[in-house]
Symmetry: C2
């Protein structure tokens, strides 16, 4: 948990992913397209990845949902659905600008 929060505050936008997950690729791709230099942390290449996945699972409060987990300005924003709807409503850009990500 601490490691998740520590990494989450290392950059304006941090995305936790699994290298095998195509929905994670979609989200990181979208961030790059928006001009964001996000820190993408692949949990399957982290020795503590399993613990971090469990921590994210609790934070996201969902059944079977730990990745992708997007943090902006050190705060958890959510998974794909949340980030996509914020993008569609136009709320994502201001958040990214406020965090100095774009």
């Amino acid at each position: 948990m601490e490691r998740v929060m520590q990494l989450a505050s290392e950059r304006a936008v941090v995305v936790f992913t699994l290298s095998s997950c195509s929905m994670c690729h979609t989200v990181t791709r979208m961030m790059a397209d928006l001009g964001v230099n996000a820190l993408v942390h692949e949990l399957d290449s982290d020795p503590r990845g399993k613990d971090m996945e469990r921590a994210l699972h609790k934070m996201l409060g969902g059944r079977g949902s730990a990745v992708p987990a997007v943090f902006i300005g050190g705060k958890l924003v959510g998974g794909t659905n949340r980030v996509m709807s914020l993008h569609l409503t136009g709320e994502l850009m201001p958040m990214l600008m406020n965090a100095g990500a774009v």
Copy 2:
């Protein structure tokens, strides 16, 4: 491989998935919405799941892409991208009807 082909011909529409994969849920959800009674085979609950995943990986010819794998009428159609574009071009429904899935 044989097991994959054997299961693939057990019903008009067969989808191989991983229970943790949300893109797989999207595809199986879409099939249900189209009125298809697809056979959904979760590889992580199959003792031979790992081998089957490897076989599907080869068949799909992609890097890091084994699921979801959709078979219609016993033939491999493809993954999410392929199935979605067939749906958008209107080619999916005729395929499903021909296979007696709808």
